[in-house]
C-alpha cells in the first residue's frame, strides 16, 4: 500500500516535513523579533516610527502571502540580486528567501497580537513605573512587555499555527517542503486519497500538539487580574 513512498528519495516524506518544520521555526523566531520591534515602534513616542509601524502592518496584512513569496524569488533574487549568501545553491537560496518572506508577513500579525497584549496591562502600572523615573524603553522592557507576552501566548500560538500551514506557500517558489512533494506525488501516483491523507495527517501532527501545548501554557502563565 505504501510501496510508492520508496520511489521518493529526494526529498523523502520525512525530509520534506523536516523542511516544513525548519521553515516554521526559523520564520517564527525571525517574525517574533521583527514583530516585537514593530510593536515597540507602534507605541513609541516618536510619531514617525508610529506612522511607519502602522503603514507597514496595514500594507503587509492586505497583500496575499503568495504575492510576497513569489516576489522574493522574482523580485528580490532576480532584480535586486539578493542571493541570501547562497549565490549558486538555488535550493538554499529559495529556502532563505521564503523565510524572509514569511518573517515580513508574519511579523505584522505578531505585532498586532502584541499590541493587543500591551492594552491588557493596567494603565496604573505604566503610570507607577513612570512615577519612579523609568523612561519609555525601561517601562516597555521591564514592566509592560513581559506581562503583554504572557497575555498573548494564546493569540501568538494561533499565529504560529497559521505560520506552520502558511509555509506550504514556499512550494510556489520551488522549496522542497511538504506541499511541493505532495503535488508531485499526487500527480504521479494513483492513490490520490491515500497520499492526501498522509500529508493531511502530517500537518495535524504538527499543529495539534502545538495548539494544545501553547493553549495549556497560556492558561498557566496568564497574569491573573
Amino acid at each position: 500500500m505504501f510501496d510508492f513512498l520508496s520511489k521518493y528519495n529526494d526529498p523523502t516524506l520525512l525530509g520534506a516535513f523536516w523542511v516544513t518544520i525548519q521553515l516554521t521555526l526559523f520564520s517564527a523566531v525571525g517574525s517574533l523579533i521583527w514583530g516585537t520591534l514593530l510593536a515597540g515602534m507602534r507605541v513609541s513616542p516618536v510619531p514617525l516610527m508610529r506612522g511607519f509601524g502602522t503603514v507597514y502592518v496595514n500594507v503587509v496584512r492586505n497583500i496575499p502571502l503568495t504575492v510576497i513569496i513569489v516576489f522574493t524569488s522574482l523580485g528580490l533574487a532576480d532584480i535586486f540580486g539578493m542571493t541570501m549568501g547562497a549565490p549558486d545553491d538555488f535550493k538554499l537560496q529559495g529556502f532563505r528567501l521564503a523565510i524572509l518572506g514569511f518573517v515580513a508577513y508574519t511579523a505584522a500579525f505578531v505585532c498586532e497580537a502584541l499590541r493587543s497584549g500591551i492594552n491588557t496591562v493596567p494603565v496604573g502600572q505604566a503610570e507607577a513605573a513612570r512615577a519612579i523615573g523609568l523612561n519609555f524603553s525601561q517601562v516597555l522592557r521591564l514592566i509592560v512587555l513581559p506581562q503583554a507576552f504572557r497575555a498573548v501566548i494564546g493569540p501568538l500560538a494561533n499565529v504560529l499555527i497559521a505560520l506552520t500551514k502558511n509555509t506550504t506557500v514556499a512550494a510556489a517558489i520551488g522549496v522542497g517542503e511538504a506541499a511541493l512533494l505532495m503535488k508531485s506525488m499526487i500527480e504521479k501516483e494513483a492513490q490520490t486519497v491515500l497520499i492526501a491523507a498522509i500529508f493531511a495527517f502530517g500537518f495535524v501532527v504538527l499543529t495539534l500538539p502545538t495548539g494544545l501545548f501553547l493553549g495549556w501554557l497560556s492558561k498557566r502563565l496568564a497574569v491573573k487580574r
Binding site: 507605541v43 514617525l48 491588557t120 494561533n158 500551514k165 512550494a171 503535488k183 492526501a196 499543529t207
Partner: protein, 308 residues
C-alpha cells in the same frame, strides 16, 4: 494607550525624539535610495514599463480579467461556505453525541490542514474522478479548497456567535413552547449571524488572499497569475508586482472598512443585543488549536490571521 507609556516630552525627551526621528529618516532614505538605484540599474524605472498601466491595454487584457476571476472565486467560495459553515457550527452544538462529535472532528480536521493541500487534492480529484473540462478545473479546485477550509472557520464563527447570545433567549423560546429546531432557526441563528456579520465579512479578506495560491500552483488565471502573463509581455517584473499588490491592498482595505462600518452600525442598532463580535474574532478563530483568543478584559480575538 501609547500616550500612557510616556509623559509629555520635556526638553531632553524632545531632543532624543528629534535624534531618533532624524536617524530613522536617514535609514529609510538610505533604503529607498538603494531600492531606487537597483531599479534604475536594472532598467525597471523606464517609462515604457510603466506606460501600459495608464493605457487601457494592460488593464483590459490582463489585470481586469484577473481581478474578475479573483472576485469570482472568492465570492463563490463565500456563498457556498457560509451555509455549510452554519450547518456545521450548529451541528457542533447539538445535544446528540453522534452529531456533535463527527461534526467537531470534521471542522477541526479541515482547520488543521493548509488550504494549499486541499486545493491540490481537489484539483487531482477532479482530474481523476470527474469529467470536468480542463477549462473549469482550476476554478473548481480553488473554490473547493477555499470552501472546505473557510466553511470550517465559519463554523467556529457561527458557534461562537450562538454561544455569545444571552442564555435568556433560549429559555424564553422554550418557555413559549418552541422546539429545539425552531429555537435555533427563528431565534438564535438570525441573531448570531447578525452579531457575527462583521467577522464574516472580514473573512472575505482571507479568502481573497488565498485565491492567489490557485494562481501560482494550479494556473487559475487570477490576479497574481495574470501578473505573470503581463510581465512576460512587457518585461516589467517590479512595476507589475507593485501594481498588483496595490490592487490587493485597496480591495482588502475596502472589505475591512466595510466590515468595521457594519460593526459600528450593528453596535448602534436597536435590534441587536449590543454584543458584536468584530473582525478580530475571525482572526482569533481562524487558525487551529489554542483555546481561543479571549484576552483579559473581554476583548475577543487579537490573534493571527490564518490565511495567506
Amino acid at each position: 494607550m501609547s500616550s500612557v507609556l510616556y509623559d509629555a516630552p520635556g526638553p531632553r525627551a524632545k531632543r532624543r525624539n528629534t535624534i531618533l526621528t532624524v536617524a530613522f529618516v536617514v535609514m529609510l532614505a538610505l533604503l529607498l535610495w538603494w531600492i531606487w538605484r537597483v531599479l534604475d540599474d536594472k532598467g525597471q524605472l523606464e517609462w515604457k514599463l510603466w506606460e501600459p498601466f495608464i493605457t487601457s491595454q494592460a488593464w483590459d487584457t490582463y489585470l481586469l480579467p484577473g481581478l474578475a476571476n479573483t472576485l469570482k472565486a472568492a465570492g463563490l467560495a463565500m456563498v457556498i461556505a457560509l451555509p455549510l459553515g452554519a450547518f456545521f457550527g450548529i451541528a457542533r452544538l447539538s445535544d446528540h453525541r453522534w452529531i456533535r462529535i463527527p461534526a467537531g472532528a470534521v471542522v477541526e480536521f479541515f482547520r488543521a490542514i493548509p488550504v494549499l493541500l486541499l486545493m491540490l487534492f481537489a484539483f487531482q480529484f477532479y482530474v481523476r474522478s470527474t469529467g470536468l473540462s480542463t477549462e473549469y478545473r482550476p476554478l473548481y479546485a480553488v473554490v473547493t479548497g477555499l470552501v472546505l477550509y473557510n466553511a470550517s472557520v465559519l463554523a467556529e464563527v457561527v458557534r461562537a456567535g450562538i454561544l455569545a447570545l444571552p442564555k435568556g433567549q433560549t429559555e424564553a423560546a422554550q418557555a413559549i413552547g418552541l422546539r429545539k429546531g425552531q429555537t435555533m432557526s427563528t431565534i438564535l441563528l438570525p441573531q448570531a449571524v447578525t452579531v457575527m456579520l462583521p467577522a464574516i465579512v472580514s473573512q472575505l479578506v482571507v479568502i481573497v488572499k488565498d485565491t492567489a495560491l490557485g494562481g501560482v500552483m494550479l494556473t487559475f488565471p487570477e490576479l497574481l497569475n495574470s501578473r505573470g502573463t503581463l510581465a512576460a509581455n512587457y518585461a516589467n517584473v517590479v512595476p507589475s508586482f507593485i501594481v498588483v499588490a496595490i490592487i490587493f491592498i485597496i480591495l482588502n482595505f475596502l472589505i475591512t472598512s466595510f466590515a468595521s462600518w457594519l460593526e459600528g452600525r450593528l453596535r448602534r442598532g436597536k435590534k441587536s443585543t449590543g454584543a458584536v463580535l468584530g473582525p478580530a474574532a475571525v482572526e482569533g478563530t481562524a487558525s487551529t488549536g489554542a483555546g481561543g483568543g479571549l484576552l483579559p478584559g473581554g476583548v475577543v480575538g487579537g490573534g493571527g490571521d490564518s490565511g495567506n
